[in-house]
């Protein structure tokens, strides 16, 4: 139902006139503190009926916090919330749902053990005589998914889906329930252009039905494509609210970070060194028969739709999964990588795609997390050198500009983007000759993104090689020296040197 080209046919519908109507929801001096952290500072904001309102800001600016106050996840520390002019407490998720407010949160929050349909209807089940109507719900769920153009089965178990697919389920659920007010917190992080286009169609449809949509993203082009108005948050305070038509990318970035950033993808040509990794006909869970080489100084990009098998492929290279066929040659020597520790010893580092599940010890300190890979160096004899441990942690926090109350603060208290910096940072501290980044810039703000690209350049200059997985085509397209396209577990196309235009790459990934 969605045309691939739609994504570029990007002018928003007639801009809504916010001033005219009573705001659906108005925030007055909304305030939130987490202990010492002042996450939101007296924010005044209103949302008009049927508008698409984007919110942008650096990592840790308070965007997710704002959303959590509107959906009753957290309780505000101060200020008022007016729903159609009337003050509302908004103290619980139930209350928000009752008003018709729903959100797709930054981190996927679904029940992995339940089916897609059960997740779609959780808390809103269809019953007859008090008994669940299992079949009816699967049918209805399938209808919702089909209607939205999501190619998913309603009776699949959620844990069998990739994180991107799970994101779609979360979206579908919110879309069926956010009857008045719907919030998307970085919905496209794990989505490819394809799914993103479907999502945008959905959002426009909702708008047409009179639903107010709040849209949070670090991809500013999406803001311009979709939104009517845009608000900028900086350090928990509102900087401005403008009509999208009245602003441009550069001024948004200036508003967000109070300085300007070269928005180009930072990339310097580095002479390729010797081959670091060669895989020949490698097969494993979710992919088969993949061959490629990676040279020092080279960025090898892997593109594909969600579920194409890229993550499984790199995890197999990293020893997380056992390979079922093929071979690997590292530095010219055939190797059998037994496990992750083995891979790391041989100079491979992996920044996994899901920071929550795979990257972080959430209820431990930032310091432990950034140091976890290098503890074998922070020792004196058998004992830890606690001074060195502290120093290493502080250095990482400074170098990566991780916004945290202290090195002892739990990783869970950091904003999404700052959590991502920890995961990247721990491997920089460790060092490697082959870095694998699986979706490294998901949820990362423009400033940090530029910083991460600069890090890439530094690594390459130091003679390392990089495998970069991204579902964000502009990113892989621009950064990759060699671009491989995955489709359904197979490597279907490879481009080095001159690449075909992005549309062609997308077509290869889809397999039209």
């Amino acid at each position: 139902m969605t045309d691939a080209a739609l994504i570029d046919a990007a002018s928003p519908d007639a801009p809504a006139e916010p001033a005219a109507a009573v705001p659906v929801l108005a925030l007055q001096k909304l305030d939130k503190r987490f202990g010492a952290t002042h996450a939101l500072k007296a924010v005044d904001l209103d949302f008009a009926p049927g508008e698409i309102h984007a919110i942008v800001g650096e990592n840790g600016a308070g965007k997710s916090t704002l959303i959590k106050l509107l959906t009753g996840v957290h309780r505000r520390s101060g200020g008022e919330l007016l729903w159609e002019g009337r003050p509302v407490p908004l103290g619980s998720p139930q209350e928000a749902l009752a008003l018709g407010i729903n959100a797709v949160h930054q981190e996927v929050v679904l029940c992995r053990h339940l089916s897609v349909a059960a997740n779609l209807f959780l808390g809103d089940e269809t019953t007859r005589f008090g008994l669940l109507r299992h079949r009816a719900m699967v049918r209805a769920g399938q209808a919702v998914l089909d209607d939205l153009g999501f190619k998913l089965r309603a009776d699949a178990t959620l844990s069998d889906l990739t994180i991107g697919q799970q994101q779609l389920v979360a979206t579908a659920r919110a879309a069926t329930r956010g009857t008045r007010f719907l919030i998307f917190d970085e919905p496209t992080g794990y989505l490819t252009r394809q799914e993103a286009a479907q999502l945008f169609t959905l959002i426009r449809r909702l708008k047409a039905e009179g639903v107010t949509v709040v849209y949070i993203s670090h991809r500013l082009e999406e803001v311009f494509e979709l939104a009517d108005r845009v608000s900028i948050l900086r350090d928990g305070a509102l900087v401005s609210t403008q009509r999208v038509a009245d602003t441009d990318e550069a001024s948004l970035i200036r508003g967000m970070i109070n300085r300007s950033v070269a928005q180009v993808h930072y990339k310097e040509a580095v002479a390729f060194g010797p081959e670091v990794l060669r895989v020949e006909n490698l097969s494993g869970p979710g992919f088969s028969d993949v061959s490629m080489t990676v040279r020092a100084g080279e960025v090898v990009g892997l593109y594909g739709l969600i579920g194409a098998g890229r993550s499984e492929f790199v995890q197999t290279v990293f020893g997380r999964h056992a390979r079922t066929g093929g071979r690997m040659v590292l530095d010219g020597v055939p190797v059998a990588i037994r496990n992750e520790a083995d891979a790391i010893r041989r100079g491979i580092a992996l920044v996994p795609e899901s920071r929550r599940d795979q990257g972080l010890c959430l209820n431990l300190g930032v310091g432990l997390n950034v140091n976890l890979a290098i503890y074998d160096r922070l020792v004196r004899g058998a004992l830890l050198d606690r001074g060195a441990e502290r120093a290493a942690a502080d250095r990482q926090i400074r170098d990566m500009q991780i916004k945290t109350a202290s090195r002892d603060a739990n990783a869970s208290s950091l904003s999404g983007g700052n959590q991502q910096k920890i995961v990247v940072g721990k491997w920089l501290a460790h060092g490697a000759k082959l870095y694998i980044f699986d979706e490294p810039t998901v949820g990362v703000d423009v400033g940090t993104k530029a910083e991460i690209y600069r890090i890439f350049a530094r690594l390459l200059q130091g003679g390392a090689a990089i495998i970069l997985i991204s579902s964000y085509l502009p990113e892989v397209y621009d950064l990759a020296d060699t671009l491989h396209v995955f489709r359904r577990g197979r490597l279907v196309a490879s481009h080095s040197g001159a690449k075909p235009d992005p549309e062609a790459v997308l077509t290869e990934a889809i397999g039209a």
Binding site: T2, A4, T71, P93, C111, H113, K151, D155, G511
Partner: protein, 331 residues
């Protein structure tokens, strides 16, 4: 142009409506476990002359009934990723409560109803400790385990309460349609438990909470209420078992039911329940507890040294759960 997101999960065929994974898994697993139970039964029928007698089979049903019932309750709690260590103590205290009330002239019906109510109240107290005070279930129910035994002993001063009405104790000996009444109680508990777990919203919510309590809360599920529910079911069923125990051994005694919490948990896990929550069924713990009962019954019939019996039980738990994990992974 219609874009096809190619995905192994999406097929052209219309989706066949299927029960949620919990129930489906439950069915497959039950078949495997039921197979194991059958194998045990056949082996014992061959190796002893006495196993396959009407009398032994009804003994078996009576012996397994009580742990089976608390294992069902325990499963409700484990599905929410909790645990209820107090069920054994609740059994003991309930046997005392129902006996005392009967001895002091409450009618049988009144005494039983009040005892079960007391059990439900204990469950509500667990809910309170876990939800309102934020205590880990393990600790909350460990604390009440200790305290409830103390209360039971205090009330009886360590003595057994006897002199229960014959019409009450006769229940444990009676049968209906050739099946011991005690086993009928299992059915009477299992059927509504099954409906509750698989065919009502609350059942669905219990799984959701065990899977991801935060996600459930965000979709408006009354997480606290459901946790209360699970512990009230568990303690309520333990109180029912306390009543049955009093009927069966003809006394009330606060030290009875010791260690039954671990038997119930083992039964539940053997029956496929995951201690990490969100996986479990009603038939699983039933099969699990009858497997354990059959092992003991068989060992007694074969005159196995009682110490060997423990070693065998421990070993079998490892083996059964191991194969269950394997099967689960292979899917």
């Amino acid at each position: 142009m219609t874009v096809q997101t190619q995905d192994p999960l999406s097929t052209a065929a219309p989706p066949s409506p299927r029960a949620p994974r919990g129930a489906r898994m439950g069915l497959v697993l039950s078949l495997t476990l039921f197979g194991l139970l059958l194998v045990l039964w056949i082996a014992l029928s061959i190796s002893t002359e006495t196993f396959l007698t009407e009398r032994n089979l009804s003994n078996l049903m009576r012996q397994g009934a009580m742990v089976a019932i608390i294992a069902v309750g325990q499963t409700f709690v484990i599905i929410t990723a909790g645990i209820d260590l107090s069920v054994g103590a609740v059994v003991g205290v309930s046997s005392v409560a129902v006996s005392l009330m009967m001895v002091h002239g409450f009618g049988i019906a009144g005494a039983v109803a009040l005892t079960v109510l007391m059990g439900v109240a204990i469950g509500a107290f667990h809910g309170f400790g876990i939800v309102q005070l934020g205590l880990p279930p393990f600790i909350m129910t460990l604390a009440t385990l200790t305290a409830l035994r103390g209360i039971g002993l205090l009330v009886t001063n360590g003595a057994t309460i006897s002199g229960l009405p014959g019409s009450f104790t006769d229940f444990s000996l009676s049968s209906f349609l050739g099946i011991p009444s005690l086993f009928w109680m299992v059915i009477l508990v299992a059927v509504p438990a099954y409906v509750l777990l698989q065919h009502t919203r609350w059942g669905r919510y219990l799984y959701a909470i065990g899977s991801n309590a935060e996600a459930a809360r965000l979709t408006g599920v009354d997480v606290k209420g459901m946790i209360y529910l699970a512990y009230m079911v568990s303690a309520g069923l333990a109180a029912v078992v306390g009543v049955l125990l009093a009927a069966r051994i003809g006394i009330g005694n606060a030290t009875q039911g010791e260690g039954w919490e671990l038997q119930a948990i083992a039964s539940s896990v053997i029956g496929g329940t995951s201690l990490f929550g969100a996986v479990g069924s009603v038939q699983g713990p039933l099969l699990g507890s009858f497997i354990l009962t059959t092992i003991n019954n068989g060992a007694n019939l074969l005159a196995v040294n009682p110490f060997w019996q423990r070693i065998i039980t421990g070993g079998l738990i490892i083996v059964i759960v191991y194969f269950d994990q394997l099967r689960r992974k292979r899917r």
